[in-house]
Symmetry: C2
Subunit: 121 residues, 2 copies
DNA sequence: GCCAATGTGTACTATTTATTAAACATGGAC
DNA sequence: GTCCATGTTTAATAAATAGTACACATTGGC
């Protein structure tokens, strides 16, 4: 890895949009609220550095009021929470995911499956 | 982290069982085949060091002829392959897992869901 | 009794991932 | 025309994770 311009640009776009109505969304202040240095955020936004760890991405999403999964996906990371869910029932969860992949399920198929799950419980 | 005796003991048990019928399952030779040093494996088996990375655990499982997911679960790690599957469809997969958790689905529920998925495709 | 292989203890090292302080350049507000 | 806040560059680390070489002690086979 060595930078992710797509992620960086997205953060910058979201942040600048916010800044229009709320000047505390400057790079420096935003970085501080996320819990990272301005240096680091600058390099991330310009795509020179990789995205920060998941925890910080999740904080960013909350502050920017966007879905964390979207940003995590851009960053090519997964929410650590999902790892915990898998660990709670490793084999069954692994089978579930592999089946979804092997059968080539579409998003619609997956959504239908979620509805099915909800009926079960 | 600082060692995982359960994981270590399990590896040792499996390896020693294999060694009974195949003397090449000595600690040293096994370590070499896994691709790690004997020192490292020794410390892992005695629970002094943490399990190695997922890749090596998967190799161990293959050599020991056991399910990799079982060993990965003991090591409190997840197969990187699952991360890749999630990344292929981040939102839908995240929803799927969170639903399973939120609804408190049992292993049987999950198995039923897998059968449902197979019917869809 | 020796040697060849076994597992272990001591003492570091490597790699990857994530991150920073401080100096700097630019532009508007006063 | 200076001050203050902006974002950026330079130059290193920091922190976490994953691993090693080499010498040592023990033991079954000859």
């Amino acid at each position: 890895m060595a930078g992710n311009p797509e992620f960086g640009q997205r953060i910058r776009d979201l942040r600048e949009a916010k800044k229009v109505v709320d000047p505390t969304f400057s790079l420096r202040q935003f970085a501080q609220r996320v819990g990272i240095s301005a240096t680091f955020l600058s390099k991330i936004e310009t795509g020179e550095f990789d995205p920060p760890r998941a925890e910080h991405i999740i904080t960013m999403a909350a502050l920017l009021e966007v879905d964390a999964d979207e940003l995590l996906a851009l960053a090519d990371k997964t929410d650590p929470e999902l790892g915990d869910i898998i660990k709670s029932e490793p084999k069954a969860m692994a089978d579930l995911l592999r089946t979804a992949r092997d059968r080539g399920l579409t998003v619609e198929d997956l959504e239908r499956t979620i509805r099915y799950m909800k009926k079960q419980s």
